[in-house]
């Protein structure tokens, strides 16, 4: 004798079951993902604004051209990259310096005395590959890591030149705003808009490795 069939017939359409399953997986997945981000040493702090200079300014693609937002403005009058940058800095009440002025400040004896400071706002890898000699490392996405060394130097300085990779890079602005938020006077902060590429183009020396490593590389062409 056959045992009775305990299976019950399907009452809901299979698509409903699939969607219900998807919702369950999504809910569990999101909770686990938030937990993983929380325990990960590299996890993001959800309540922190990583882009104090503004979220809406898109990052340039690696090809060096503008992103969709910038592209959309390409033909608009008065919207060249330099003009957009100038408008951004004005909005943030930050001053800019060009390569010539940055080089003057670098050769100024006050730089050796510590009353002029250079701040490198790029990530650790780029910093190690080559930075302005004597510049302090300060990745604005991990400020707590760099405050202990960079903050006293900024407090002692009368002028602080902040730079990153030039072009559409706005990490120097983020770094300047972060420093301003912890009490560094805004008038001290100068954004070197050309950044490291401009420095190299001008044939100025580059320090490889740690700060004051003594490993200088000439970029004279």
């Amino acid at each position: 004798m056959q045992p009775p069939d305990i299976r019950t017939p399907e009452r809901r359409p299979p698509v409903w079951n699939t969607l219900r399953e998807a919702l369950l997986v999504a809910a569990v997945g999101i909770v686990l993902a938030l937990g993983a981000n929380l325990v990960s040493p590299r996890g993001l702090t959800l309540k922190r604004n990583y882009f104090p200079a503004g979220i809406s300014r898109p990052v340039a693609p690696a090809t060096g051209f503008g992103s969709p937002g910038a592209v959309a403005n390409t033909n608009a009058p008065g919207s060249s990259p330099a003009q957009l940058l100038a408008a951004r800095l004005k909005e943030q009440e930050l001053q800019s310096v060009d390569g010539r002025r940055a080089a003057q400040l670098f050769h100024d004896p006050r730089f050796q005395q510590g009353t002029i400071a250079f701040i490198d706002a790029r990530d650790e890898q780029h910093y190690r590959e080559g930075h302005i000699p004597g510049a302090w490392e300060f990745d604005p996405y991990y400020p707590e890591k760099y405050f202990p060394a960079a903050l006293p130097a900024c407090q002692a300085a009368e002028q602080i030149v902040v730079y990153c990779n030039g072009g559409d890079c706005d990490d120097s602005e983020s770094a300047a705003i972060t420093l301003r938020d912890v009490g560094i006077a805004g008038w001290k902060l100068l954004i070197y808009t050309g950044g490291m590429p401009d420095w190299i183009t001008n044939g100025l020396p580059v320090e490889v490795g740690m700060r004051n490593s003594g490993n200088l590389r000439s970029t004279n062409k």
Binding site: I6, R7, T8, E10, P14, N17, T18, L19, R20, E21, A22, L23, L24, V25, A26, V28, G29, I30, L32, A33, L34, A36, N37, S40, R42, G43, L44, T45, L46, K47, R48, N49, Y50, F51, I55, S56, P58, V59, A60, P61, A62, T63, F65, G66, S67, P68, G69, V71, A72, T74, Y141, Y142
Partner: protein, 181 residues
């Protein structure tokens, strides 16, 4: 033992679908890990799409998405809730493909170059890629997901569906649905 051509064809398709499921799972784990290990870089890349203006929302997406992809990848590898996971993968892949295409079109327009010559880091987890290759990859991943959603790839699953074991949808699913590892 059923040796009919239809049965053998279905069986062969199911074997390939299992490989597709594992491939899909492995790809999502790999891409998710690349993002989870460099969350700030992923956050910056997310920002370039200009999709949200609220930093809390942007941070949440950038924090959750990598781990969520890893979670989905693990489910596919283990064969748990395969159809539900496939729905989620399609729900992630389709909008992302649209957004990436829009950005590629904007770059193409700015540079006046052929569409397939556009190369950029789309935040997909594997660095800079040519857009046509990326679109091809995404299309394949979407097709694999649809295939799994259609019910293939049931072999070697820990628990293909999460619903009660006593319920089966089709007679052909009997004996394959659960515990077939």
């Amino acid at each position: 033992m059923n040796t009919s051509p239809v049965f053998r064809s279905r069986s062969a398709a199911d074997n390939f679908a299992v490989l597709a499921r594992w491939l899909l799972g492995a790809v999502f784990i790999y891409l998710g890990m690349n993002k989870a290990l460099h969350p700030v870089e992923f956050l910056k890349l997310m920002r370039q799409y200009d999709l949200v203006q609220n930093f809390l929302l942007l941070n949440s997406i950038a924090a959750v998405l990598p781990w969520f992809e890893i979670f989905c990848g693990l489910l596919l590898l283990a064969g748990v809730a395969v159809r539900g996971t496939a729905v989620l993968l399609i729900a992630m892949l389709v909008p992302f493909t649209v957004v990436v295409s829009r950005r590629a079109l904007a770059i193409q327009s700015a540079q006046a170059i052929p569409f397939c010559a556009v190369k950029f880091d789309c935040g997909c987890g594997n660095g800079e890629v040519f857009i046509c290759r990326k679109l091809l990859e995404n299309s394949l991943l979407i097709l694999f997901s649809i295939w799994l959603l259609a019910g293939y790839g049931r072999k070697l699953c820990l628990r293909h569906t999460l619903k009660s074991c006593a319920v089966t949808t089709r007679p052909t699913d009997a004996g394959e649905t659960n515990g077939t590892i």
